[in-house]
């Protein structure tokens, strides 16, 4: 049971990505993980032409 507003907000926020982005992430998951592993940038293009760049930061084992 969620008793704190902050917990409820986090719970709702956890899964708040646009559907197109989720679909793209799911479809390209292997390529994205590969790119992250090699320290490369991966770009996703949205339905309205918006571009989302995923850039790996410090890789921690």
């Amino acid at each position: 049971m969620v008793n704190k507003l902050s917990d409820l907000a986090e719970f709702l926020d956890n899964d708040s990505l646009p559907r197109w982005l989720k679909d793209q992430l799911r479809e390209n998951q292997e390529a994205i993980f590969r790119a992250i592993e090699h320290g490369e940038e991966f770009t996703i293009t949205g339905p309205d032409g918006q571009k989302l760049k995923i850039t790996p930061k410090v890789v921690a084992a």
Binding site: K57, V59, A60
Partner: protein
């Protein structure tokens, strides 16, 4: 007489300020129905008001601007003690009242003026707290990452705000353009999909209805018919039918369940990162290791 006086004091110092706080907060967000029997809520309300009362008392006692305004008159500690003794004694005993009936009325007026001055600042503080809480509610999504704000919100906002407002609006999101999409299953088995445009609560604070914008209905009958007739394996997404209305109102009594999905137009690195974690290959997931950290940038 004492009981009547205590009732008046209880109304002036607890009930009215609490109602004022909720009225002001209610101008910003829909409120949860107050549960008088919940000891936790009552304690929190009394403790909060006691803090504000303490501040008002300190202002009136120690700060010149507040000490004499409003209702200014020549006062002294000894006169104050005399007035309180006279008023309390007369309220307690009818004999004392008859003996001190003339000084009683003078003492009562001065006591009322003192309390009126204190109440004035006390109510202003309560209104200020209500206003701050209201603004905090409106900016919750933006400020929720600030630790002290989150703690105060947990303590003071959660008990007041309607849980439906938190769940069915963009309240919890930094971007107010966040859309709440809902799949609504009705008691007759019909499934609707749409953006939550508005919601209504009944007097008990429960959901009474829901407005869906851009509504679509899942044509389950056609799906079953086609599957039975020719073993069709068309994607289920082909069976969503647009409802030709701007907004569809659904009565809450007929709703079996709600499947909600929040779509923020500005995804965050944390959100993307968390979603990628759910897609992470199982050996890494089982090991409980997060092997990446990302940043994102969105270009239109």
């Amino acid at each position: 007489m004492i009981a009547l006086s205590l009732s008046i004091l209880f109304a002036l110092y607890i009930l009215i300020p609490y109602a004022l706080f909720r009225f002001l907060l209610g101008l910003f967000v829909p409120l949860r129905v107050f549960e008088e029997r919940r000891t936790e809520d009552l304690t929190r309300a009394v403790v909060t008001l006691a803090i504000l009362y303490g501040i008002a008392l300190a202002l009136v006692w120690y700060f010149p601007g507040f000490k004499h305004h409003p209702l200014c008159f020549a006062d002294s500690p000894s006169l104050r003690t005399y007035d309180y003794e006279t008023v309390m004694g007369s309220l307690y005993s009818e004999t004392t009242f008859k003996e001190n009936s003339i000084p009683f009325w003078g003492a009562l007026v001065r006591t009322a003026e003192r309390q009126g001055r204190l109440l004035c600042w006390y109510y202003l503080l309560v209104l200020g707290a209500g206003l701050a809480a209201g603004v905090g509610c409106k900016r919750y999504g933006r400020f929720k990452h600030i630790k002290i704000f989150a703690i105060l919100a947990d303590l003071y906002l959660m008990p007041h705000i309607s849980q439906w407002y938190v769940i069915l609006t963009a309240f919890a999101f930094p971007d107010s353009r966040t859309v709440v999409r809902a799949d609504v299953l009705m008691v007759d088995g019909t499934l609707y999909h749409g953006d939550v445009a508005d919601h209504y609560l009944n007097k008990d604070g429960n959901l009474s209805g829901l407005f869906l914008a851009n509504p679509t209905r899942f044509d389950r009958r056609a799906l079953m018919r086609e599957r039975e007739a020719w073993g069709s394996n068309r994607s289920a997404s082909k069976y969503w039918r647009t409802i030709p209305s701007a907004k569809l109102y659904l009565v809450a009594d007929k709703i079996v369940n709600l499947n909600l999905h929040y779509e923020s137009p500005t995804p965050t690195a944390t959100g993307v990162s968390k979603y990628l974690e759910t897609l992470m290959p199982s050996p890494q997931k089982k090991a409980g290791r997060k092997t990446f950290s990302i940043s994102i940038s969105l270009e239109s």
